[in-house]
Symmetry: C2
DNA sequence: CTGAAAGCGCTTACAG
DNA sequence: CTGAAAGCGCTTACAG
């Protein structure tokens, strides 16, 4: 068989190890050993190795990740499963920087990413274990999203499949990388108090997620530490009732509002609009603070060009660190804790000022 | 061996078809047939099938996706190779909707996406053929990006690897899904002419990409068809010299400017700023048209709140169609043409008006 | 130092 | 109608 006819015989089909073996005149197993650079592979005759390497190059060989994985080795592929579309229609979607961080670190670590298209449909009937189960084609998987099917995840835990949540989770034993909202939120309240505010309100969305629970906990903690009255402090909203809420608060003498910023941005958008309609100046008439905008995607205060005061969520870093943790889990050697909370950077911003009328400082 | 001890022997390990086979007293292959509900599976004795189904249920069997994919010779994984980071830092990056379309269609077709991260960067700084070759782990691959290494791609063509470009390409034989810029651009000129403009300029970026070439071709075509003088019509810019260009044009009596919108948005941004600095009203003093903003991410005209007149690039649809075409290629049965141009939807917008002073219409 | 064999968990022809 | 066999493309012991 000539080289030419041999190549033709291989045809359109992807080259595999046995093709290389035939060309190089060695066994298929030897090809595997040599290509992977294992000790036993390196021990083979230098000239043999070169022949194999050349043949692989010439044929354009690339290992089949599925076969590799089945034969129980590593893929160098990390899964990314978002419980919603990965590329949301809303371009400014708040969790985007997380994905950028994931991609960045994966690239740095030489890992490719498999996007498990959580077919909007699958999310709806998300209890379908098969949908989640296919993440096994990767060495490990990152999960991301507020609404998470519990049952399929539990199975993954049982099977010992390595995965990491992006965002804190309540379920015991589940590794995650989240943001440390409690102290960050408490500190925002402390700043308001330091500026002279005593009548504060916290506007949060109607949403049950660990991130929301943590922010509220932090706000309450901050209020208590400052000796503030926490009755009526927390006000859930969907954004539509902002005018009424704002009106009531002004009448009560509220001078500062803390707002939760989440995916939808509904609470902040609603309040911002209400402030505008009421013709209020921020921070002149009312101080505002926002809990958790993504770094670099912060909004602007109503009317002014000032950035919101509050803190940033280290989304990019969360993505990066989640990749690192996942890789540690895959290697079987989690270096540090497997449940991590990253600090949120305070943002000075320009929406906090002393309350009007200015209180005389003692 | 009792049933109990057998079950214990199976232990923590996930149940597989051979376990079911043992319990139900049939062959492993029969289990596969029955579980998959194939014709041959359905043909088996009703009672036998029930026994297998029961055993599967009892053991909590779920098929291993890795093995399934290996055996069925399809990975159900499509590559997505972007010649830059997939998740760009700039959230408003213009090609984002394409990715959304890709994800959407992939999900609908039950395909997962492999993001080639590390390799992308390596390819960029090395023209490293090995980097691009890695895409062969997928069943096929989508390529996307302006700056594309040619050599590795040629290699893929030779090997018969299925792939599709998103965006028109000049290389013969390369399948693509692009936008039909020529007629869309010509039509924009026609609209300007219909509004009474005779002195028009086309501002394009310094960039050699098929998309840019097509737009220019369309503008020239439109101008010729309207009997306009095409000398001096086209002006390349990097955005920095906008003031000078604008000044010159006004002196010449130019009443309308067509601008190319690309990734960077430099041309449009530069001109918009210049118009603002000159204190001009748009479209009162100058009509503007933009060639190719992504649907839903259009900018706003300087000063006013009006959307730019021009056309939309059907980015989302390009992404979707590229997935469809790729799947056809993988199946070996391209239904329609393998080089497709999708129509661009005209955008009425609010930046085209009759030139001032109004010309008397004959 | 080298090669042949078994196995990962499935699917799919192909004999009885 | 049913079952045993081969094969998907790899890895990893294990003989020579």
């Amino acid at each position: 068989m000539t080289d030419a006819s041999r190549e033709r015989a291989v045809g359109r089909r992807r080259p595999r190890q046995s093709d290389i073996a035939r060309v190089a005149g060695v066994s298929q197993a030897a090809v595997s050993l040599i290509l992977r650079g294992t000790p036993s592979g390196m021990a083979l005759a230098r000239e043999t190795r070169q022949r194999v390497l050349d043949a692989a190059e010439e044929l354009g060989y690339v290992p089949d990740p599925v076969a590799t994985r089945l034969a129980s080795a590593r893929n160098a592929m990390l899964g990314l499963y978002t419980f919603s579309t990965t590329f949301p229609t809303d371009v400014a979607h708040s969790y985007y920087p997380v994905l950028a961080g994931v991609e960045e670190e994966a690239a740095a670590q030489g890992q490719d990413l498999i996007l498990f298209t959580g077919s909007a449909r699958a999310a709806a009937r998300a209890q379908d274990p098969a949908a989640v189960r296919r993440v096994r084609v990767a060495d490990g998987c990152l999960f991301f999203g507020r609404h998470v099917p519990e049952e399929p995840i539990r199975r993954l835990v049982e099977d010992g499949f390595p995965f990491v949540y992006i965002g804190r989770r309540d379920e015991p034993g589940v590794p995650y990388v989240g943001a440390d909202y409690v102290p960050a939120s408490a500190q925002v309240v402390a700043r308001l108090v330091a500026a002279g505010h005593r009548k504060i309100r916290y506007l949060r969305e109607h949403d049950q997620a660990p991130a929301s629970a943590d922010r509220e906990e932090g706000v309450l903690k901050g209020a208590r530490e400052a000796g503030l009255d926490t009755r009526g402090l927390v006000a859930p909203t969907d954004g539509a009732d902002a005018d009424a809420l704002l009106g009531g608060w002004l009448a009560e003498g509220v001078t500062a509002v803390v707002v939760e910023q989440t995916d939808t941005g509904a609470a902040l958008a609603g309040l911002g609009a209400a402030v505008g309609r009421a013709g209020l100046d921020c921070p002149g008439d009312l101080s505002l603070a926002v809990l958790g905008a993504a770094t670099g995607t912060r909004g602007r205060a109503p009317g002014g060009g000032a950035a919101f005061s509050g803190f940033d969520v280290p989304m990019r870093e969360m993505g990066r660190d989640a990749v690192r943790l996942l890789l540690e889990l895959i290697a079987g050697s989690p270096g540090a804790a497997t449940r991590r909370l990253l600090p949120c950077e305070p943002v000075e911003g320009g929406t906090i000022a002393a309350p009007r009328p200015p209180k005389k400082h003692t």
